[in-house]
């Protein structure tokens, strides 16, 4: 089966998709976007969290065919997605061009990277919220959506929003710090 959908702002097409395949498998194995992690495959860990028509979901529990015609944002497109959101927020007509697959695959971390990081990504680095890094992409997508919805979250709000994302390294304290930091920085700018 063929699936047509938008990934990180650009139209994409996946061919020879098995009907029982998950959106996560299509993203990782057919689009070459391994940012969304494959761990529990049962919605327990949140490491595959993506936005599906803006809603945070576990990509492992979305059948590929259900993504037909829909809009998906993965961690690879998060920086551009956040930038576009900030640019359009005050009413500016500026529309980003999305993140292409090649660009996403070539992406390198560090100051030399081509795309600046999303505020929540920079905050995770600055707060030391990343250890092994496996849970990080899912947490970034979930945390970014929280701050979009609720720019000044309470600690309880943060815990609730991230309750579907497991981290076995950090003990979560620095992750909470990172989300507070991202919220505080956004507040200063605003």
């Amino acid at each position: 089966m063929r699936v047509n959908f938008t990934v990180n702002g650009r139209p994409q097409q996946a061919d020879d998709v098995w009907e029982g395949e998950s959106l996560l498998y299509v993203l990782r194995e057919r689009m070459g976007l391994p940012g969304s992690k494959n761990a529990c495959e049962q919605g327990e860990c949140g490491s595959c969290t993506v936005r599906l028509d803006n809603v945070p979901v576990c990509a492992c529990l979305v059948a590929a065919g259900q993504a037909e015609g829909r809009d998906v944002v993965t961690v690879e497109g998060l920086a551009e997605f956040a930038e576009r959101r900030d640019a359009t927020a005050p009413g500016g007509p500026e529309q980003g061009s999305g993140t292409g697959l090649d660009e996403a695959r070539r992406w390198q971390p560090g100051p030399g990277g081509s795309t600046p990081l999303a505020p929540v990504q920079q905050a995770f680095i600055d707060a030391g919220a990343v250890q092994c890094g496996f849970c990080t992409p899912g947490l970034l997508v979930a945390a970014d959506e929280l701050l979009e919805r609720n720019p000044e979250p309470s600690d309880a709000d943060i815990r609730e929003a991230l309750s579907g994302n497991l981290c076995r390294c950090t003990g979560y304290e620095k992750i909470l710090d990172a989300v507070r930091l991202a919220a505080a920085r956004t507040g200063e700018e605003g």
């Binding site: 029982g20 495959e41 945070p56 979901v57 579907g164």
Partner: protein
């Protein structure tokens, strides 16, 4: 495997009639787990995400007609006044990601005894609207669960909606698990006060082969509250009455020992939840706010 994408309800019913073995998929939070783990290889998947009617609800005089595909998040955010017990139960489902996709229709379709919405539906009073190309049936939710992960659906039928009585009194939901998120219930309990009919209804999850009402406990309590004039006086329920109610709720259970908990623990926990949730709802009734206490 075939993947069918009906664009509307009529088309979905026609597809189900033509492919009775097709497995309906909405949020995917149960079906995709089974496929990912190779526990199930349906020959046809019937995607209901494109059927817009299923994601709508109508608030009527006495009931809410909740489309089978309304995600838990919408119930929590938009129906907590009309359906407080179901909103509390919905809030304990999985995680935000799961609640964004999972639906009450899916919970009914899977008919797991551990499904979080079942106790709340039983306590509030609900009927399941099922439909096929042959016509529509309304099934009282008590009769919908027929066994472990079995329900009253015929092979050509789909769940269209659930008609749930609007709350006319306080409701509560309580669930035992190891943490506050991502928990399959060890056991769960829901209670709803119905001041108009002066009755109390219950729902128990994960403590019998199907979700059940504790009917003997309801009968006992209804009689005790009527005899003692409690609905009029608003007096505190006598501790011995609450205790007896709790014991009868535990007695309604027919639990098993499994990895999540022992049968004895489940019975005990149900009695504790029954006593506490009755106390919370009755307190709210006495205070006259008629609505639900927000803690669970």
């Amino acid at each position: 495997m075939d993947f069918l994408r009906p664009a509307g309800w009529r088309e979905a019913l026609a597809a189900k009639a033509e492919h009775p073995t097709a497995v309906p998929i909405a949020g995917g939070t149960d079906v995709m787990v089974e496929i990912n783990f190779d526990h199930r290889r349906p020959d046809v998947l019937l995607d209901l995400n494109r059927v817009a009617e299923l994601t709508e609800w109508e608030v009527g005089e006495r009931t809410v007609r909740l489309g089978a595909g309304v995600p838990y998040t919408r119930i929590i955010e938009e129906l907590r006044t009309e359906l407080p017990g179901l909103a509390l139960a919905s809030h304990t489902v999985g995680s935000p990601q799961i609640r964004n996709r999972g639906t009450v229709g899916g919970n009914l379709g899977a008919a797991s005894p551990a499904g979080d919405s079942h106790p709340a539906l039983l306590a509030a009073g609900a009927e399941v609207e099922v439909e096929s190309v042959r016509g529509t049936r309304m099934i009282p939710v008590e009769e919908f669960y027929t066994g472990v992960k079995r329900n009253a659906l015929e092979p050509d039928e789909l769940i269209r909606a659930v008609h749930i009585q609007k709350a006319e009194g306080p409701q509560q939901f309580s669930k035992v698990g190891t943490r506050n998120a991502m928990v399959i219930a060890v056991c769960a309990f829901a209670v709803a006060l119905h001041p108009r009919t002066r009755t109390v209804r219950t729902g128990i999850g994960s403590a019998a082969p199907t979700p059940i009402r504790a009917r003997a406990a309801e009968d006992f309590l209804n009689a005790a509250l009527a005899d003692g004039g409690f609905w009029d006086s608003g007096a505190i329920i006598t501790p011995s009455v609450a205790r007896q109610f709790a014991e009868l709720c535990a007695g309604a259970c027919n639990p098993i020992d499994d990895v999540r908990g022992s049968a004895a623990y489940r019975r005990h926990a149900v009695s504790v939840m029954a006593r506490r949730t009755l106390g919370w709802t009755w307190q709210a009734y006495r205070e006259g706010n008629g609505r639900t206490v927000q803690c669970a």
